[in-house]
Amino acid sequence: MERIESTDVLVIGGGLAGERCAMEAAAAGLRVSILSLVPPRRSHSCAAQGGMQAALANCFMADGDSPDLHFLDTVRGSDWGADQEVARIFADNAPIAVRELAHFGVPWTRVRSGPNQYHIKGEKVVIDEPAEKAGLIMHRDFGGTAKWRACYAAAGTGHAALYAVDGEVVRLGVNVRDRAEALSLVHDGGRCWGAVTRCLRTGRPGVTLARSTVIATGGYGRIYGKYTTHATINEGTGASLAMDTGLVPLGNMEAVQFHPTGLWPSGILVTEGCRGDGGYLLNRDMERFMVELEPAKQELASRDVVSRHMMQQIIDGKGVNHPAGPHLWLDLRHLGVDHLTTKLREVYEICRDFLGIKPWEELIPVRPTQHYSMGGIRVNKDGEAYSLAGLYAAGEAACWDMHGFNRLGGNSLAETLVAGRIVGQKVAESTRRTRLEIDTSVANEFLDREHARVQSWLNRSGAGQSVYAIRDAIGEIMINKVGIFRTGSDLAEAVEELRVLHDEVDRAVLGCRDPGVNPELSFALRLKGMARLALVAAKGALARTESRGAHCRVDFPDRDDSNWLNRTLVRWGRDDADPAFEYEPVGLLDLPPGHRGYGKASHVEMTESLDAYNEAVIDQQRRHGMRDPGEPVGSALKPGAWRDAEARAGLKAIEAGQSR
């Protein structure tokens, strides 16, 4: 019944990152298998609507844009937590990735020449798009960028991209095993040789041996319970698989991004656009609290600031009660039916479909939720994991690390494709050089361990909690104490409480023991991993006594480049008592740390010189497990190329355009 099969490349995850990577290996003539919890087209990549950043500089508001400017925005956005060489590789390759998608059939929205009406900062503006750009890929503004840069396919960028890439996967004949889950990695201590799997149609276990293994399992938003915009399947299992080995470190797990307006109780993302267009936030007493708290910007203050005030209202008991937990109101009534059914059509449809309300008549229940996971499996610039040969990671599951402590909107879709291409090529190269040299007895040992884990769940009885109660308790702790605004005392409590829950998992009892896939068992097998991820995120956040990007410590409000210009690494083998934390330099610094241009202006300067910092990077990273990439570290950096980028960008042209 149990079976061992082999392939050349095993890709765990069928979202954009996994599939793009698989394509590259398949095109190189290798046998590739993709595992996915769901048919690949149902991966969460399909939910991204906003756009994909790439500096094509096609429309008027993008005039003068360049990969150099994209690099600057990305590094500044990361609050200098990014690996700048990776940000450079990313910015240089994003245009190729977007154009390649056009080649695969993505119906990108295109430039219409002649006068076009846009909404810019709430005002109607007419801009002439030049004839020579007609029909090229159009851009929109996505916040946090110097130019309009986000390429988009109407309101379904992620959907269109995923369908196009999956079409290529079908064309290339890649073996896709949907409803199949990786439970653990198979390795011999030095090299990864595939994974133990479980079929989610039948519940049957198996092993897939491979010369190279790629983890592309997406984000871990569900450790925040229902307080996330993520799909129900984003449970961070990929990061758990890697951490379970005890060899591979996870990077920056405390770096988590939040969004102020998740629809309640579903968590579905409601675009910023509704506050941009003049929406109000109200508490249970119908007070517009943002007016008093942020008189200047009111509801238009930054994501983080708005989220924080909203959380405080809820904590102060000013939320509106709902059986699933308190929420606040988003008031769009004054915008009127015309505006809501045209300019904010997606919001109107969400209200109609998921609340059954008309937003011009009724209030919308919202609250802040988790939105993006910057942390993940730590890899070098080729996407190869630290400390375990033959293992790669790409996409949201990876800490490649172009986002540092804050991801810019639209950069993550672009990352999945850029990384998929590059990592796929590296995987193909190294797979060709590797022979499958693993004893089946080692594979069987890993299979037996997973089998024992399944049995222990099925055999356990007693008065333990339900797996869902533990999941919910973890989510409450994460959103309330490891959330948007963090303090040492909250985090210390969170660590203690999470530890208790983590141990509770081993006593939890299933209600269902039916043969077959058993949905409760499937979830139970992921729960320990989720508890472990939550705990390392909380511990990492407690240890990091500064504020950087999305990691905001109320008790340490400044970014501290003298002590914390580094990346958190954590290792925690499945059988080890406690996680072990280490810190490595963020990477070679090209753009010196400075002010982001928004948010708080003050920070503690680095004490070391840039040269001294850079001098030590490679050795230190090697010491922390970095495997040498194919090209030397720093080879793609293009030092100083950003220097005149802003001058080249022609800001004057933008002003001229706006005044029309």
């Binding site: 079908v170 699933a324 229940p365």
Partner: protein
């Protein structure tokens, strides 16, 4: 205001369990504000029967995981509000697909086979050149392609289709929509004669008997009636050309 009591009659069968026999099982639940079948089914599973099988992923009507028969009509459960339903709700799995268990069916295998059958990818004219600027495309055309690219492969049209339920090789409305999507894309190198072989047989457009229930059930409101008419026109046109 006291909450309404909802009764759910749910189809149960676990093919992996030799003891299991197909039957309907009843659950009751107090209704909540803004309750969708996503929340209701998860509450039932978490509080009443942890073995209940169903599929959700995005819970925002974009991934196509949650197609099921709600009171006999195929639709997306995640965007079905209980406030739009009567006190008793009957739930069945989508027909035409292989049953995995309870409300969960195997759409993945079906859609992969369909994609292979119709060649659901751009048949390229030339290899990608990473150094070249993209080929321009009229925005109207891009928008039209996007419109038919919007299908989320939830399987509701397949489940509603009289032919797909009895003829496994039939590409069904979702397949026809895919064909139309690539036919109108100038980046695809296939000619009308290439398409003729895909379209003009009983597994293609001529297999359709015109009941068009698909058009009414599509949760994304794709204009399947127009798609069908477009394909028939194209297929008949090619047939004439072939004869001439």
């Amino acid at each position: 205001m006291t909450a309404r009591k909802l009764t759910f009659e749910i189809f149960r069968y676990n093919p992996e369990d030799p003891e299991s026999k197909p039957h309907m099982q009843e659950f009751t639940l107090a209704e909540e504000p803004y309750m969708t079948l996503f929340r209701a089914l998860n509450m039932i599973r978490e509080e009443q029967d942890t073995g209940l099988q169903f599929d959700f992923s995005c819970r925002s009507a974009v991934c196509g995981s949650c197609g099921m028969m709600v009171n006999g009509r195929p639709t997306l459960a995640c965007k079905t509000l209980t406030s739009d339903l009567a006190d008793t709700v009957r739930l069945h799995p989508l027909p035409a697909f292989k049953l995995i268990g309870d409300l969960s069916v195997d759409t993945g295998t079906w859609f992969r086979a369909m994609a292979e059958q119709v060649g659901a990818w751009v048949h390229e004219r030339a290899p990608f050149d990473p150094k070249a600027v993209e080929e321009p495309m009229d925005d109207e055309l891009a928008a039209a392609i996007y419109e038919s690219d919007r299908c989320i492969e939830c399987g509701c049209c397949v489940a509603s289709c009289g032919v797909a339920n009895v003829r496994p090789g039939f590409v069904a409305p979702a397949g026809m929509n895919r064909i139309a999507r690539f036919m109108m894309d100038p980046r695809d190198a296939r000619s009308d004669t290439d398409w003729f072989d895909v379209v003009s047989n009983d597994d293609g457009v001529f297999g359709c008997i015109g009941l068009m229930a698909c058009h009414d059930v599509c949760p994304k409101e794709l204009p399947l009636l127009e798609v069908y008419a477009y394909l028939r026109r194209r297929a008949l046109g090619t047939a004439f050309l072939k004869k001439a």
